[in-house]
Each structure stands twice: as structure tokens, then as C-alpha cells.
């Protein structure tokens, strides 16, 4: 099962480190990363595989949201299905 992690906020050091640390700790594999920085505004989208995830989805979600608050970024994780449903025919 795959999910999309979206990280949005003001650019700073250590964003990818902080997010990927949580993912690695919970056995979530990163399959793809895209990111841009425009006018100091950082946007990153990660496609992650949760097949071997060691915790419940909600635990991971809370951990990501907490780290998001710590580093002042908005971090969301959503099942990939929603995006595929809305944007493919």
C-alpha cells in the first residue's frame, strides 16, 4: 500500500532529514521524491511504500504531524488512492 507525503512551508535546513528519519524508523520506504523551492517556499512530495510499515497508519501520521509542528512545516500523509481517483480517468 502506498501513500503520498506532502511537505509545505518556509524553506529551512533539515526538512528532508527530519521527514525521512520518521519514515525510516517506521520501516516506510521512499519510492520517489519531487521538490521545489520558489521564493523561499518549500514544497515536497514523496511517494512512500507502507507494505512493511512497523506501526499503525495513524501512529505514523501523528509522528509526521508532530515533526511538522517542530520544524514549522505542514506535513500530510494520504493514501495514494485519492490522487489516482481524482486525477486519472
Amino acid at each position: 500500500m502506498r501513500a503520498v507525503v506532502t511537505v509545505i512551508g518556509k524553506d529551512r535546513t533539515g526538512i528532508i532529514y527530519n521527514v525521512s528519519k520518521i519514515l525510516a524508523e517506521n520501516e516506510v520506504n521512499i519510492e520517489d521524491i519531487s521538490q521545489t523551492v520558489m521564493h523561499d517556499f518549500f514544497t515536497m512530495i514523496m511517494l512512500v511504500d507502507m507494505s512493511n510499515m512497523s506501526v499503525d497508519f495513524n501512529v505514523l501520521k501523528n509522528a509526521l504531524e508532530t515533526v511538522g509542528e517542530d520544524i514549522g512545516m505542514s506535513i500530510r500523509i494520504q493514501h495514494e488512492d485519492l490522487f489516482n481517483a481524482m486525477h486519472t480517468i
Binding site: L47, F57, I77, H79, L82, F83, M86, H87
Partner: protein, 452 residues
């Protein structure tokens, strides 16, 4: 994986434009709860609802979390209670409403619909008792919603029901006078009622439906408005295209949520209702979409055409996105639940008569309109008859949810709170229609040829 910009678009729709799933509504048949003993029947009803819907809220919240899209309401619709209670000896069905309320509280939902009767062509004993029980039922319960289907394109309009329901609405307003007559906000009188509608107050589980199904109502006026904002110089054809594409995406999200919840609850997925449903929140208004098309205020000349175009384009986009479209599937224009409508009424741009005209091109009728508390029952019946006529003649669903707010008059505002919002009291025509309403009988079914 969806493209970068697609992901961001979805996130923006949810975070900034209030994209949400308005409701997941579980339809439950109560036909096997019929019993000659009212008490036994009610016990069966309670047991069945609490058994089948035990995990509705839990699974709804789980999917909300996983997909990251809010599901605002979790609700239940049941078989019209007049059909269930009719075989008992009870002379009052308020206890049935109370057991529905208790079941709703147990499973943690906010509304349960189906305290209903279907009388387009006449009353059964159960229908009469149910209709007489509506005011007390709505005054003594929190979550129960009631509806009556009083006309259809096949049968015409039951004018005896029209007359009686005018009185019922007045009685309900009086019994809930301490809360701005809020009981009336939980009652709809329909013509051509649909059997699979997930939206309240008019949801019920029709007799042609399966044992239990999961229906979904989507939302998204804010998303449509934002899409149109980006196309200021668009022609009508271009606007229609933008609305269609947006409706497609909204519908896909709804379809995914509906099918996933249904699968996890192990019930069949029923229908997806495409209606654009507003809320009183800023940025979630159907009126503002119409204004975005170039109207100074909703209600001015051009409003009916704008609404017709919007409604049609939403359907076209939605139909492509899901094969299970049903319910009303049209834009809703409730006054109290739409911040733009409220403002349009307050500034005098939107009148009762214009609202009536607008209902001829969209669902679902005169909805959440507060009128003076001293409005005679016969005038309310006249309003019901007019709306029913629009529905019956045009082969569409129409409904009336008016609130004659006890003790209030034009210039006052009724406060319902939450999703029901607030409503400025609207002036209505003061001329008498009681002789017309009191005639009784049936307006015959209309001819379905020579359409003009």
C-alpha cells in the same frame, strides 16, 4: 503516481477550498421489523440499526484519516416509518421517532432520516398517524428527520396532504418555539421524492432498495468557485468545461470514499449524490459561484440561467466520474446554510419568488427558508402546492423546508446553529389562498406529451 501539480491541487482543494465529503449515509431496510406489537417492532428497529451501523462512524473516521479528506456527516436513512408502524395498533408514532433517536445516539451519528410517509395518491392508516405525529416527534427528538412525499408526476398532487402539512409545519414551529422553530428544519415535503437520497432532512430508504446500502453525498462549492475565479474572461462554453472538470474530480473523491467505506462495512455501495451542497462557512457557497459568473448578487436577473448552467455542468462532469450516480444530483440552494444566499436576502437581491423560480432548474426546492411566524397554515400549503407543481409538471424532485419562525417577523433572524446556519426572515405574499387550499382532493396527474 499522480503528477506533482495534481497532488498539490488536491491538497489545496481540501485545505483552502473546503473540499469535503458531505455525508456518508447508510440506508437500512426496516421491513423485517414490522410487528403487530409496536413495542416489539421498536425493539427490532433499535437492534437492527445498532447492529448494522455499529461501525459506521468508526470506519468513516478511519477512511477520513487515511485519505486525508473530511467526511462531515455520518448518517442513517431507514424505510419510511409509516410502512413499518402501520401494522401495529399504536395511535401515535412518536415512540418510533424516539427509538430512532436512541439508535442514532448509540451509533454516534448526527441525523437519522425516515420518519416519513409516501402519500402522492392517498393515505393509509399508518400515513395519517405518522403525519399527525410529526410535530411532537420533531419536538421531542434530536436527530430524527422527517419527510412526506405528497405528489408525483405519475399520480399528481395529494392536496389533502398539502393542506394537512401546512398545519403540521405550523404545529411543529409552535412546539419548538423556544429554539426558533428548529423542528421545521428537520422536515421536508417532497414531490417526486427519491428513494436513495443521502442528504437530510429528506433521506429515507425506499422500499425498492436493498437490505442495507451505503450512499454518499459530495460537496465542493468552494472548489468550483475557485476554479471559475481563475477564468475571468471565460465564455459560457469555457465555464461549463471548467465546472465539468471540477465536478469530475470532486465526484471521483466521493466515489472512492463511498466504495471504500461500503467495502469495509461489508454492505453494497448504493449511489453517489452529485449535489453541490453549501455550508454557512465562508468559501462554501453556491450563491458565490453564481456571483462569480458575473452577477452582482445572487437573485438578480440572470440568476436562474446561471444556476441552470451550473447544475447541468456539475451533472455532466459527475456522471462521467461515477457509474453509480443517484439521489438528487443537483445544486442545493438552501438559504440558511449558504453564506452568500443569506447576504443576498439581507440586501434585498434575493426574494422568495426568485427562489421559487430557481427551484425549477435545480434541486431541491424552497430549502431552509425562514418566513414570518404568523404565516397562516393555508399560505404554507400554498407554498407546498406551488413547489409540488413545479416538480410534478417538470418530472423532477422538488421539496419545501420552510420555517415559520414563531414570534419573529421580517427584519428578524432565526439562528439554528451548526450546519443549519441562520436565516433572515423573508417576506412572503400576504394574499390569502385558503379557499384554494381547502378544496381538498387530488390535482390530477399531468399529461406527459405536448410539453410546452
Amino acid at each position: 503516481m499522480a503528477m506533482f501539480k495534481d497532488v498539490l491541487e488536491t491538497v489545496r482543494m481540501i485545505e483552502k477550498e473546503r473540499l469535503d465529503i458531505r455525508t456518508i449515509t447508510m440506508g437500512i431496510s426496516l421491513l423485517d421489523c414490522i410487528d403487530s406489537s409496536g413495542a416489539k417492532s421498536r425493539q427490532k428497529i433499535y437492534d437492527k440499526i445498532t447492529r448494522l451501523a455499529e461501525n459506521l462512524v468508526k470506519e468513516g473516521e478511519r477512511i477520513e484519516n487515511e485519505l486525508g479528506i473530511p467526511i462531515v456527516n455520518k448518517r442513517i436513512s431507514v424505510t419510511p416509518i409509516s410502512l413499518i408502524a402501520g401494522s401495529s395498533d399504536d395511535l401515535n408514532y412518536v415512540e418510533y421517532a424516539k427509538i430512532l433517536d436512541a439508535a442514532a445516539a448509540t451509533v454516534g451519528i448526527n441525523f437519522i432520516g425516515g420518519f416519513s410517509a409516501l402519500v402522492p395518491k392517498g393515505f393509509t392508516k399508518g400515513d395519517r398517524i405518522l403525519i399527525d405525529s410529526i410535530p411532537e416527534a420533531l419536538a421531542t427528538t434530536n436527530c430524527v428527520c422527517s419527510s412526506v412525499n405528497l405528489g408525483s408526476s405519475k399520480a399528481g398532487i395529494n392536496m389533502d396532504a398539502v393542506k394537512r402539512l401546512g398545519e403540521v409545519i405550523k404545529e411543529t414551529a409552535y412546539l419548538t418555539r423556544n429554539a426558533d422553530s428548529i423542528g421545521c428544519a428537520k422536515f421536508v415535503a417532497f414531490a417526486n421524492a427519491v428513494e436513495d437520497n443521502p442528504f437530510m432532512a429528506g433521506a429515507f430508504h425506499g422500499v425498492g432498495e436493498a437490505e442495507s446500502v451505503l450512499n454518499v453525498g459530495v460537496s465542493g462549492p468552494g472548489v468550483v468557485k475557485r476554479a471559475l475565479e481563475k477564468a475571468q474572461d471565460a465564455s459560457f462554453g469555457e465555464m461549463a468545461e471548467i465546472i465539468k472538470k471540477t465536478a469530475f474530480k470532486i465526484t471521483r473523491a466521493g466515489h472512492l470514499v463511498g466504495t471504500t467505506v461500503a467495502e469495509r462495512l461489508n454492505v453494497p455501495f448504493g449511489i453517489l449524490d452529485l449535489s453541490l451542497a453549501p455550508t454557512p462557512e465562508i468559501g462554501d457557497s453556491v450563491a458565490r459561484i453564481l456571483e462569480e459568473m458575473g452577477l452582482e448578487h445572487c437573485g438578480t436577473h440572470g440568476t436562474t440561467a446561471a444556476l441552470a448552467m451550473l447544475n447541468d455542468a456539475v451533472k455532466k462532469g459527475g456522471i462521467m466520474a461515477s457509474t453509480s450516480v443517484g439521489g438528487f444530483s443537483g445544486a442545493f440552494i438552501p438559504v440558511s446554510e449558504d453564506e452568500g444566499m443569506i447576504e443576498a436576502v439581507e440586501c434585498g437581491a434575493l426574494t422568495f419568488d426568485k427562489l421559487e423560480a430557481m427551484t425549477s432548474v435545480c434541486s431541491v426546492g424552497i430549502d431552509m427558508v425562514a418566513i414570518p411566524g404568523d404565516t397562516p397554515a393555508s399560505t404554507i400549503s400554498g407554498i407546498l402546492a406551488d413547489e409540488a407543481a413545479i416538480g410534478v409538471i417538470n418530472n423532477k424532485t422538488t421539496g419545501v423546508r420552510v420555517i415559520p419562525v414563531y414570534g419573529k417577523d421580517v427584519g428578524d433572524t432565526a439562528e439554528f446553529g451548526g450546519l443549519l446556519g441562520r436565516a433572515p426572515i423573508m417576506p412572503i405574499n400576504k394574499n390569502d389562498c385558503s379557499v384554494f387550499v381547502n378544496r381538498g382532493g387530488q390535482i390530477p396527474a399531468p399529461i406527459h406529451s405536448f410539453k410546452n
